[in-house]
């Protein structure tokens, strides 16, 4: 055998590195971008074996001129487009103000989704209002697109007396049962198999509601990802499993999660699940892909994974400074642009929108945030309007057991 003849090669460990680091100019390398409209749209009931090229392309609808192109272009009424634009703009304005609020000490922590607004907003809109959402911490746009009052969100962020979560959760870890928004966990990825379980339950009960869940590129490495993918395919659960590839997981670029050797969408075909790879900054593409996956799920054709290719323009959280690990102008060089500006451009190109209207809308959402912000601050900011301490012992169990009652009494000095 020839291998015995050759002097064996020394083994080497490969450690992925991003194309550029601070002090160097931004570089996204040979990013393979399919042109807008290039990818054909299969029927939503197509066999998985016919869909194995999809994870290697990139579904895009909006071209550089803001025109909607190709088979994936959804025919959306103007009203829907404008609602989407508004929700994205409100999300961004909300983020800006809450980030500032954290800097001002009004709360302990905040996380923005800047640059990724199309993901949550377009996906929420492409789903039915009673479909169940299992989000990560970066889909505040889901709540906003479902018209949940931002005042309520602010009260959670401020852990004040109007916080529906009784000051228990870290800011941004919302839970809103009323609009089908599942309680966010601090432990990455856990919601993915939970969404599958919810969808399985819906199927067991012959319901019509489907589930959707979101995790980040980094989180795909967690075991929950694998469990969700496995259970979803085995039982053909009516669920949409979204991977928001925003290129970064705190300081680790997506190569550390395995994005160097394959797209995240490609993981799906390994299980026999369709995997769509979508321009996450293209409102129309995101909407269309989600609609396709939802139709598939609703007609008992099972789960779909969607990789939303986007960029985390903001720091990971208020505890993070990305200048320590990536060029500070990287966001500006992101080749897929800004989701709000791209939808704006499309609307203007379609003749249904203008710069003036846009500026007015911008002012409107900022005012809305300002008004809600003032009201939230009036109710209280972190520490100024704490929930009643005795609530600390509630909801550990449905009913208060003896040992917790005793501890509560001890705390209250009773």
């Amino acid at each position: 055998m020839s291998k015995k003849m050759k002097k064996p090669e020394s083994l080497r460990l490969h450690v992925p590195e991003p194309k550029s680091r601070p002090g160097h100019s931004s570089d996204f390398g040979e990013m393979h971008l399919s042109p807008a409209g290039a990818i054909p749209r299969p029927a939503a009931d197509a066999a998985e074996s016919k869909l194995r090229e999809l994870p290697y392309g990139l579904i895009r609808v909006l071209d550089d001129a803001g025109q909607a192109c190709g088979e994936w272009a959804p025919a959306l009424p103007t009203e829907t487009l404008l609602k989407g634009l508004r929700a994205m703009m409100l999300t961004r304005a909300f983020d800006e103000r809450m980030m500032r609020a954290q800097r001002q000490g009004k709360t302990s922590f905040y996380m923005k989704c800047t640059g990724e607004e199309a993901v949550a907003v377009a996906q929420a809109m492409a789903l039915h209002p009673d479909d169940m959402l299992f989000p990560s911490y970066r889909q505040q746009g889901l709540l906003i697109a479902r018209d949940w009052p931002i005042l309520d969100m602010m009260c959670q962020l401020y852990s004040n007396s109007a916080d529906r979560l009784k000051g228990r959760q870290l800011p941004v870890m919302y839970s809103v049962r009323e609009v089908g928004f599942f309680s966010i966990s601090g432990n990455l990825g856990t919601q993915f198999p939970q969404a599958v379980g919810w969808a399985m339950a819906s199927a067991i009960k012959n319901d019509t509601r489907i589930a959707a869940s979101w995790i980040g590129d980094g989180t795909t490495a967690e075991s929950d990802f694998h469990h969700a993918m496995t259970f979803a395919t085995v039982y053909r659960a009516p669920v949409i499993l979204n991977v928001v590839n925003n290129q970064w997981a705190i300081s680790s670029f997506q190569g550390i999660a395995g994005g160097e050797s394959a797209t995240f969408a490609a993981r799906a075909i390994g299980y026999g699940m369709p995997g769509l790879r979508v321009d996450g900054n293209d409102f129309l593409a995101v909407y269309a892909a989600t609609q396709w996956a939802a139709e598939r799920a609703r007609t008992n054709h099972g789960p779909t994974m969607i990789e939303l290719y986007t960029y985390r323009a903001a720091p990971h959280s208020t505890s993070d400074d990305p200048n320590a690990y990536r060029p500070s102008d990287e966001a500006a060089h992101w080749p897929l642009g800004d989701p709000i500006l791209r939808l704006k451009q499309h609307l203007i190109a379609s003749g249904i929108w203008s710069d003036e209207q846009h500026a007015a809308l911008q002012k409107e959402v900022e005012d809305q945030v300002k008004v809600a912000g003032r009201e939230a601050e009036r109710i209280g900011t972190l520490g100024s309007a704490n929930p009643d301490p005795s609530t600390l012992f509630e909801d550990v169990f449905k009913d208060l057991p003896v040992h917790l009652r005793r501890q509560r009494d001890e705390m209250l000095g009773a």
Partner: protein, 338 residues
């Protein structure tokens, strides 16, 4: 009233609950067509169909993760983890999710699930088919922990666990599935049929979680135990000729402090027995509780008789198992002190 062994009693509990409540679903590795490697779910798939009783991929974390989602939907999942030794891959979903969901959502969502899992040794299962990890779960706020010691309790407790709106980890001492076992491994096997607790009603009844049972009233020393050790302690008291009050805790969390306190205050002595490793085990908590509540009544140090702080060894299983000889010795030590 039919005679049931522990397997049949547990099966009957699920059967009764599936009949009464459409939202009860049962799943886990090999539980569907085959009915479970210990046959506890036998016949349920045939009776209730594949979408209510089904096999799962081998992924305990996935079983718990999906069960939580189903619980949030409104189902009552009763899942099996094939051996308690294999519950660790599900640890994050149990601890960070099932146990915390109600609290973190301030009551908006919860996971009313039951995790059934066979525990304990005495079947030559070696270190990965013999563990008793209950002490890891009793430290996790938000979980209830149960371990029955006989068919009657097993059914009543499992029904209560399924009806409970909080997540319950339900340990089934596998050495008791087919008969009571007092630790005398060299004597002939006994069957449940001749034990009074095998008189198990066919229908619905519950044993409230959080209530201990005094299986042998006595005056000299209080013995706190659960699961297989209940039978070992009964044998040991008999053999030592000591009038021990033997308390089968049944539910470990929330624990029945009042019953414990009343007994130890009366006897002034306490021996704690479990099969799990000693350090940091549930016995430590019991010891702390007893000394906090009964300090002034204690006439002798609290004794712990437990598994050694080693993995469960295959060939030396009986050196490891805390059998009647060790319990007897502890009872005597507790009584020696004047």
């Amino acid at each position: 009233m039919p005679t049931m062994n522990m397997i049949q009693a547990l099966n009957s509990a699920m059967d009764v609950m599936m009949q009464r409540d459409d939202n009860v679903v049962v799943f886990g590795e090999d539980v569907g067509y085959f009915g479970g490697v210990f046959r506890v779910t036998a016949g349920l798939q045939k009776k209730y169909g594949q979408t209510r009783v089904f096999d799962t991929p081998i992924a305990e974390g996935g079983i718990l993760g999906t069960a939580i989602g189903m619980g949030a939907y409104g189902l009552r999942p009763v899942v099996e983890v094939q051996f308690a030794d294999y519950i660790y891959p599900a640890f994050d979903q149990l601890v960070s999710e099932a146990a915390r969901l109600r609290y973190r959502s301030a009551g908006e969502f919860w996971a009313p699930l039951v995790v059934r899992t066979p525990c304990g040794g005495g079947i030559f299962g070696g270190q990965t088919h013999s563990q008793s990890p209950e002490g890891i779960f009793t430290h996790v706020c938000g979980l209830k922990t149960v371990m029955p010691s006989n068919p009657y309790d097993a059914k009543g407790l499992l029904i209560a666990a399924i009806e409970d709106d909080d997540p319950v980890v339900f340990f089934e001492p596998k050495r008791l599935y087919n008969g009571p076992f007092d630790g005398h491994h060299d004597r002939p096997l006994k069957a449940w049929s001749s034990h009074p607790t095998s008189d198990v009603p066919e229908g619905h009844y519950r044993i409230e979680l959080g209530k201990a049972s005094i299986v042998r009233p006595g005056n000299d020393v209080t013995v706190l135990c659960y699961g297989t050790m209940v039978h070992v302690c009964l044998a040991a008291a008999e053999e030592a000729g000591i009038d021990a009050e033997i308390i089968d805790l049944r539910t470990l969390l929330p624990v029945d402090v009042d019953t414990i306190e009343a007994s130890v205050k009366r006897t002034g002595r306490c021996v704690i027995v479990h099969e799990a490793t000693r350090t940091g085990g549930y016995g430590a908590e019991l010891s702390a509780i007893v000394q906090e509540h009964c300090f002034w009544h204690l006439q002798a140090p609290i004794e712990r008789v437990t598994g050694w702080d080693t993995p469960y060894p295959h060939a030396l299983e009986w050196e490891y198992f805390p059998g009647p000889a060790r319990v007897t010795a502890a009872l005597k030590r507790a009584m020696e002190v004047a």
